[in-house]
Symmetry: D2
Subunit: 341 residues, 4 copies
């Protein structure tokens, strides 16, 4: 069986396990006050060119989204997200459970457009009955998106400008950020993201860690008592060092970028093979996720030897499927996959 | 510096790291559907003599408390807890953030009494205005308690009987359960706990794991769609196997019990030394936490070489302090500590 | 100035004030335990042909929606509503503040279609990842809708059947129910509604009362401890009799129907006049709200003498506007309005 | 039967009903934008000597408490209240349902002491683990208290000073404020309260209105978008004028004070009679509630002819009972009651 169903089917990048072993008996303070977490924060600050950034390590993506959004919105505010955004579709209502409406806007290849954001915020501002409706308070985007596409620097600049004009916070979900940063098409660096967003996170779980997301507030103190909010929402790790150590390793010697690059290269090979063999790619993006159309008969045969993700049924007995690569993807498995296609 | 401040200052028991290394490249399904998590569940079911138990792995204690309590209470219900209970004091209001009042009752050595629970539930039932007050819906206890004491089997039987009489769910927080199970004084086995409680958790974070708590519902289906509630509250691990592997190891070859035993033995040595040297023990319990009184002058000197936890100021320039031991406590460090006392 | 902006611009139907005066000095128990509330409940039960119905009087529509939905949904469930539903648009996020997602579906003339509901519920049931998404738990419809249209008995039967097939609760918002019940086109009686819904409310605020909505659970005990939930959500009236007296009057001698009928007759006159004068009606419905298109120049002139509601801007410098009639609408004011059109 | 069970057993002061009748057919805007509400606000501002105060009319006391507290606290904050405070005991957990812990402190005759508040806030500030505990963010007091006692101006000054020192908001629940303002012992005027509190409300429901509480923010804009929060919590009245008209009447020609005075005079007569007849008064206060001890045998006999409220069982077959007077209390009924005692 070949495993291409997702990017979180294995343990962690070996360097992370090594470091966990090496530091295992050292004694440290709990709750992220340890020296490994501090070191990780410093390295992330450097990578973001953001020396004052406030950084918290949480355990997963839905948790990061739920905590950040609940912490940053006033009770009467909602969060703008693309219809296909993770918070709108796949978090079992975590944002609403925190009391806030997800204001979904149409997407294009998984992306929001600055223009649509401006229109939504402008409509609120211009509505005589606006006190009876949910105020847009934040914009949520993912880089890369659910469809593996990426925002260009220009698009992010536009969105950020629109957010600032309308007083909207900008939050970037970087659960798979390594794969955006590593692809050739990418024009938005970590430093750009830190400059343009009010808060974002650097994904670990889907980018080579056992678990963990680094939530970055470029401007410290953005949310007073964020630590207590994290605790209250059950998201504070007692052994905070376990997350800190992982991000310390990920941001040492460019490992985060290397992980991203390796996965994208294998995804590129798969994309090339699919094109060559006449498959129709779907919502084409340059990162580690490959979406393609396939007839259901062919799909059944392929499923005998390959694990992949079902996305959507198409008319005419066809389906949209996804392959995902990761740091753990073996070049030879990709050879085998290509042979099977 | 000697480290006795808490039981979560190091990484994980070496067997856990070994297994993480060994399984690192295996591919598995996410979200706890993997074979390691299944194996861990089977071993826990066996240890609890509860073949149908439904088991979920969460990341930490506050999270487990917040998720379980929110999932099991109706909106109009609150949870009875001892004044000193973790949920009442040290979770930054997580239970209230989930919408429920903590109905705090007096404690004795950190423990609730069945009699007080019955009185509280009876007062509600007998109150003509009860529809205007919070209905007790659950009892929360910890084994061991915040003070390191333990409930005897008889006490648990009494509490369980009272809960069933009044229709209260019984929830046992076992963040440090290994240390209760391992001490000589203990009379309540895992099987007893499973028989007497509606839900409980077996602590990993403070008992040798990197992180993780195993929430056990002895009766499956106790909370419909608990998985979705876990997801919604941001508590679902994408790489669920990381928690599963750890509990698999903890429940293989009696490791969980060994970890508890080793820590309790060292705590016993410290308790014996304190008594011998004329210290006053405080809220004396048989587990891995040692509470004692000390004059503040002496305390300052001791603090130069020992990390410990401050609990409470006493009159007469004295303090209550805590030493905690764990799987990682070195016998020689205990020798050094005893020499310093 | 002519007032056609809404149906809640005056006090209450004179019979209500009379009864308030008449009963003013009588002593009663609080919180709805009084004899007027009991009498009102009996009359509503009779009108619904539902002798066991459980009935609670709340103060307003958003409150009724927020309380009922929060009380009936499990944490992991959301409520299906038409895109234009009041809960989705005009309640400042009250449903999400209560922790639940509004699952909006397309509408046709303000109405949901049974088919779309079935598709939504079926898609959830068939989704392999359904535990990560919000479960549809309830369907919310309004009778009449936000556009003044009404569901036929057949449509309600279809929706109810679909709900029961998929285990969805059916909730009907009857804020303006008097106007649906009173119009000639109506085929769904109160008894039908009681038979087909799990819960609904009979609107008072917009149908002649000072305030108040009668929430009806055809099956008593549908929500255990609903009274306490009402109290907890700040929706319990201390002088519950004030609501009870109003509904007692509204359901005496067919007043509720008379109020609806008078308003619909005046609305019909306005509709006839608009048609005759060549206006384009919009989302044509048979109740007390009249939606029509008008050029903006003409609109400005009309606005000098008539209060109405702006609904929507149209291309070509046109707008959709609304007239609303009520028990208090004076026939002569309608004459004047018609003359002005 | 004589009715002394509470102060909300009748309709409204006749002047209120008169005005409702008189204005019944006037057309106004909804949601509190009407001229009656504006007039009421102006009169209240004048009475508070607070020309900029922001005033919102809500329907009841629990609702006012729930909305104000939810609106003013950050997620990580709780509200200090006396153990016997209405929010801690009789609101079915409304504050916790809004996400906040009630931090209960001991009371003396129903009152908090500035000293205890300071100690609680100081303990939080001085706790090394304070990020894990609930931050006191507000102080809730009632004037008069649940026991009918009142804070002196000096006590309010002390509490206000303590609150400002520790950054706590001060919130005064004035559900029965008329009776505090009207009694001879009172030294704290409405203007004092407006000067010393961050927010308070002037009770209508228990002071002669059909329903309604006037929430006063002496400093406008204290809570941004409070209107939307009110709407979101289901507390916005469509016909806001109904509340506005009532407060307009209550604050015209000193009616609010007259209502309070009449009730207190009758309560004073009852107190004098009880003392004279050798009853033991309980938690003696000068307002419209009279608490006294009585043997259970005698109580049974009295209950045949008098409605009163049971407060508490005492040892020795005795009970604490309450009489309450109001604007509607008939002097002759008090004569009869006294004769019966």
């Amino acid at each position: 069986m070949l495993w291409f169903a997702s990017d979180y089917m294995e343990g962690a990048h070996p360097s992370i396990l090594e470091k966990l072993l090496e530091t295992n008996l050292c004694h440290t303070a709990g709750y992220g006050g340890d020296e490994y977490s501090q070191a990780a924060r410093e390295k992330i600050r450097a990578a973001c060119q953001c020396p004052d950034a406030e950084i918290h390590f949480l355990a997963g993506g839905t948790q990061a989204n739920a905590v950040v959004i609940a912490a940053m919105l006033a009770p009467y505010q909602g969060v703008i997200a693309p219809e296909t955004g993770h918070i709108n579709v796949h978090e079992a209502g975590a944002i609403e459970a925190g009391g806030h409406k997800v204001l979904s806007l149409p997407q294009q290849n998984g992306k929001l457009r600055a223009e649509d954001i401006g229109q939504c915020a402008g409509a609120y501002a211009g509505d005589a009955n606006r006190d009876h409706i949910v105020m847009p308070g934040m914009v949520y985007i993912s880089q890369p998106t659910e469809y593996g596409t990426i925002y260009s620097l220009e698009e992010l600049e536009d969105i950020s400008r629109t957010c600032r004009r309308y007083g909207l916070k900008l939050f970037l979900d970087g659960a798979r950020l390594a794969y955006a940063l590593a692809c050739r098409e990418n024009t938005a660096s970590l430093a750009d993201i830190a400059r343009l967003c009010d808060v974002f996170y650097i994904g670990g779980t889907k980018c080579g860690a056992l678990f963990g997301e680094a939530v970055v507030f470029p401007k410290p103190g953005t949310v007073p008592h964020f630590f207590s909010i994290v605790k209250q929402m059950g998201a504070l790790l007692a052994k905070g060092r376990i997350a800190g150590i992982q991000f310390d390793v990920l941001f040492t010697d460019g490992l985060y970028r290397k992980i991203g690059k390796a996965a994208v290269e294998q995804a590129d090979r798969i994309r090339a093979a699919l094109r060559e063999k006449g498959y129709q790619l779907y919502c084409e993006g340059p990162t580690n996720q490959v979406f393609f159309e396939i007839g259901n008969d062919k799909l059944r045969r392929l499923s005998d030897s390959v694990q992949m993700s079902f996305m959507e049924a198409l008319p005419g007995n066809r389906s949209v499927m996804r392959f995902a690569t990761s740091w753990a993807t073996d070049e030879k498995d990709v050879d085998r996959l290509i042979a099977l296609l």
